[in-house]
């Protein structure tokens, strides 16, 4: 608004630092993509040869087509199912809907690689479920290593993303509108179709674009499930390129990143536009929406069965699989699992100092790094708080940039920055580099958490302090920050879970001293040591679970 001039320089410098941290990695990648050698090589020349190579590589074509197909397929699965589950939970008298909701959101906080490992041990060719199924039918009626299996798994695990937006849109619509249609003569299903569905259409559209976008970024699932059959997607193609020519081919990787960002950035912009409209039919803001649940009658049990089936397929099967796998010494045909029970895999972890460091580093980056990141997000959000200017519009845009970079890409770009800028090299092999990468990758998410909290602060509470005599900085310290402290605590918990879960951002930064569970899992997958992988996965899930339970206990909203 108006009287913020005295502190403008502070706001502007925060925004400029953010711009530098966000734009520099991407700029370096663009620069690299036009070179013939790594940017740090003594002699580099500008050339389009890298583009020429990648764009004519058949593997790239098939990776692009696979990504497109997976993204489309998973959208087609996740949107209708997520919308249906949201309707059942928010608008009907489905039994058990209160305690089901946190379970529904669980896959959002689980590492996709962990889920993928879970599917491999549970439903792979010799999985815990596949063997009984084979003896029952004479063959295994599914194949998770096919592109169809991949689409199915990706679709099911992204249902919660749709659920989040669809359910909050449904909650915002007053049931008066539905009751008016009932009074007018429409039956319950007619009402759902003619009134409720059109109301949440903008939210469904938004979440559809979101899931499609996430489909393009997919890395963990295709790496584990697609790779054995040689199914490449954009991100796994990038990952494979690392050592294609014997030496790391920086310029080729840069070109793939540019190609990926060219797809994702327009999708991010589109999401932003759609998000503005997503709440267009929300007639009641806040908690006040009075809603009478729709009586399902006999349909109740069918609805419950759909929900239970999804829950089993998406949460129970992979988690039970990985959990079981972590306590048996061998598995496969003709093995009686009860004879094989052991805790040896967990004990074996202690033999590997890098794995122990990984566990500690993961906890550290989650707890301490999470707190520091929330502090950063708060400072940046406060820089734009109640200030309308070109600078805040720039910040709005800046936040979108890391959003368009998948974790794998952001990790790579930030690694290059550490190599490129003299003096930063010493940080490269410390957790600081991982923390910076995580903070940048989750900038948009974290900023949304904080600005949601800031939106709750009435402007007159801050104006009151101004009039009483507090300068802008005092207002922040004495009024605004104390008022959002619960929101900050909740953000810390959510960021903790996200950071603990994160696996792709740390991959290129992985080295002695920078191990985190997520990137270790990916590198262990290369060696095929499923004993260690399953034990480490269970520890990862336990950390996320502890965060989730604390969050639920404190009443933190899981919706970002």
């Amino acid at each position: 608004m108006s009287t913020s001039r005295p502190q403008s320089w502070a706001r502007v410098s925060v925004i400029l630092v953010t711009a530098l941290v966000v734009l520099a990695p991407l700029a370096l990648v663009f620069y690299q993509s036009f070179l013939d050698n790594p940017f740090f090589a003594p002699k580099v020349q500008f050339t389009l040869s890298a583009y020429d190579f990648v764009l004519n590589d058949e593997d790239f074509h098939s990776a692009f087509l696979n990504s497109l197909m997976i993204a489309t397929g998973m959208t087609a699965i996740a949107v209708p199912l997520g919308g249906l589950l949201a309707f059942l939970i928010v608008r009907t008298d489905l039994p058990g809907r209160r305690w089901i909701e946190p379970l529904l959101l669980l896959p959002v906080f689980l590492s996709p690689v962990v889920l993928a490992f879970g599917y491999v041990v549970a439903a792979g060719p010799v999985g815990f479920l596949s063997l009984p199924a084979e003896s029952l039918f004479g063959f295994v009626p599914w194949d998770i290593y096919s592109i169809y299996g991949l689409v199915l798994v990706a679709g099911l695990t992204h249902v919660p993303h749709v659920y989040l937006y669809a359910s909050s849109a449904l909650r915002g619509v007053s049931s008066d509108l539905e009751e008016a249609a009932r009074i007018g003569g429409a039956g319950p299903w007619r009402v759902a179709l003619d009134v409720s569905l059109p109301m949440v259409m903008p939210a469904l559209l938004y979440s559809g674009v979101l899931v499609f976008f996430l489909g393009f970024e997919l890395f963990g699932l295709p790496l584990v499930l697609g790779d054995p059959q040689g199914i490449l997607v954009m991100s796994t193609y990038l990952y494979k390129l690392t050592n294609l020519l014997g030496t790391p081919s920086y310029q080729l990787m840069a070109v793939v990143v540019v190609a990926l960002v060219l797809v994702t950035f327009p999708l991010v912009i589109l999401q932003r536009r759609l998000l503005r409209q997503a709440g267009k039919y929300v007639t009641l803001k806040g908690k006040g929406a009075r809603q009478t649940p729709l009586k399902l009658g006999g349909w109740k049990w069918l609805a419950f069965a759909i929900l239970a089936l999804w829950l089993v397929a998406t949460v129970v099967v992979p988690l039970a699989g990985i959990g079981l796998r972590s306590v048996v010494s061998s598995w496969g045909r003709g093995v009686t699992l009860s004879d094989q029970l052991t805790l040896a895999h967990y004990r074996d972890l202690w033999q590997y100092p890098n794995l122990i460091r990984g566990i500690l580093n993961t906890l550290g980056v989650g707890v301490i790094g999470g707190a520091l990141s929330v502090a950063c997000y708060t400072v940046i959000s406060l820089a734009a708080h109640r200030w309308q200017s070109g600078w805040t519009r720039l910040l709005d845009f800046l936040v979108l940039v890391p959003r368009a970079m998948p974790g794998l890409v952001a990790g790579l770009a930030i690694l290059w920055i550490f190599l490129f800028v003299p003096g930063l090299g010493v940080l490269k092999s410390t957790m600081i580099s991982v923390w910076i990468a995580y903070t940048v990758v989750w900038l948009a998410y974290g900023m949304r958490l904080i600005s949601t909290a800031l939106l709750q602060v009435g402007p007159e509470l801050e104006e009151g302090a101004r009039v009483v005599g507090a300068g802008p900085h005092r207002v922040n310290m004495d009024i605004t920050i104390p008022l959002i402290r619960f929101g900050m605590l909740g953000s810390w918990l959510l960021i903790f879970m996200i950071f603990v879960r994160e696996y792709s951002t740390g991959i290129y930064l992985l080295g002695p001293g920078t191990e985190v569970i997520g990137s270790l899992l990916v590198s262990l997958w290369g060696t095929g040591d499923i004993d260690l992988i399953s034990a480490l996965s269970v520890i990862n899930v336990a950390m996320v679970g502890a965060g989730l339970l604390t969050a639920l206990r404190l009443g933190v909203r899981l919706h970002g």
Binding site: S2, T3, E463, V467, V468, R474, L483
Partner: protein
């Protein structure tokens, strides 16, 4: 001496011109009410004085010192103006106790612990909440919160306090008590105050002078008696009080009075005389405004009397309100008893009718 003056203030919000050259002054020990319909700019003017909105032209002077001067490039931020402001929503900080809410202004001014404790306690005693210092705002009733908000604005003795619809969040009964209490406090403490309200009764009760705003300009200013008893424009006449509006044409003009031929008048009906408040040409259209309480049921025909049909009588407790119709003309009036259905004569005293 003028504690606060505003000269020719222009202010835009989001491309809309909200204030279009407003001027006013506030003498020491006076209460000025900013009155007007929503969108008239009254709250914006108050916020501009507080330093919460930025005007693009004009001057604001506090105690002889300019705090805003567009030409000289002076614009003191809100925290440097040393004013007290009571918000419509009270804006008590929910994370601070009542004591800390009131003490904050003193803390910012570097007041010592002991003195601060005494002054806050004195302020709380003054508003009758001396024992509630340790409570949090949500543990207080709406009326108590309103008083804490006032104590918070008064405790550091600002030269002028600003009140933004201070009573509008209270329910009707409490509002009348709070109004009397507020007026008493203002008088006993010799406060200089600028008070925004959309309620003309509240404005007349609390203020020494009223500034009536309409679409970003000052429509009329004066004492409550002037504003109510001698409105200078149709807008002012209609905004103050409860009114009947009588459309007609000017039939005669004489000695500052005009005779109105009421729309739908029959040959033998008398003309309606009223004080002429605007330039009107004979034969041209004009509007008569008369307050509800000035219209009296009469026993038969006579000068300045019209016959209308009673539609309904409404019992209001201390009196009756009647609704009369005759063609397009609708008249409301008060009386002491229920009237029989049918046609009645109503008297419109010529001195109480204003013709615009």
């Amino acid at each position: 001496m003028a504690e606060l003056t505003v000269e020719n203030l222009h202010l835009r919000l989001g491309g809309n011109e909200i204030l279009k050259g407003v001027g006013m002054s506030l003498e020491r020990g006076q209460v000025v009410a900013l009155l007007g319909p929503s969108g008239s700019g009254k709250t914006t003017l108050l916020r501009a004085v507080a330093g919460l909105e930025q005007a693009h032209a004009g001057r604001i002077t506090l105690g002889g010192k300019p705090v805003f001067d567009a030409e000289a490039g002076v614009d003191l931020p809100a925290e440097k103006r040393n004013l007290g402001l009571v918000f419509q929503s009270y804006a008590l900080w929910p994370h601070k106790t009542v004591f800390d809410n009131v003490a904050y202004g003193l803390k910012l001014r570097g007041t010592g612990r002991e003195e601060m404790r005494e002054r806050v306690q004195a302020a709380l005693n003054q508003i009758g909440l001396g024992k509630h210092g340790e409570r949090f705002p949500h543990q207080l009733s709406g009326g108590q919160q309103q008083r804490v908000a006032l104590a918070r604005a008064l405790v550091y003795k600002p030269p002028v306090i600003l009140l933004d619809e201070p009573l509008s969040n209270l329910d009707a009964k409490l509002r009348e008590e709070a109004r009397a209490w507020l007026r008493e406090l203002i008088v006993t403490l010799h406060l200089s105050a600028l008070c925004v309200t959309h309620d003309q009764v509240e404005a007349m009760a609390i203020a020494d002078r009223i500034l009536l705003l309409n679409a970003g300009v000052v429509e009329q200013e004066g004492s409550p008696q002037d504003m109510y008893g001698a409105p200078r424009s149709l807008f002012a006449a209609e905004f103050m009080g409860a009114n009947n509006r009588i459309e007609g044409t000017v039939a005669e003009q004489r000695d500052g009075y005009a005779a109105l031929a009421v729309a739908g008048r029959t040959e033998d009906e008398p003309l309606l005389w009223g004080r002429l408040r605007a330039d009107r040409t004979p034969g041209g259209p004009a509007t008569g405004i008369v307050r509800l309480e000035s219209v009296r049921p009469a026993d038969g025909p006579g000068p300045n009397r019209l016959a209308l049909d009673l539609v309904t009588s409404m019992y209001l407790g201390e009196r009756w309100e009647y609704l009369f119709h005759r063609g397009p003309l609708k008249v409301r009036a008060y009386g002491n008893e229920a009237l029989e259905p049918g046609r009645h004569w109503l008297e419109f005293p010529a001195d109480r009718v204003w013709v615009f």
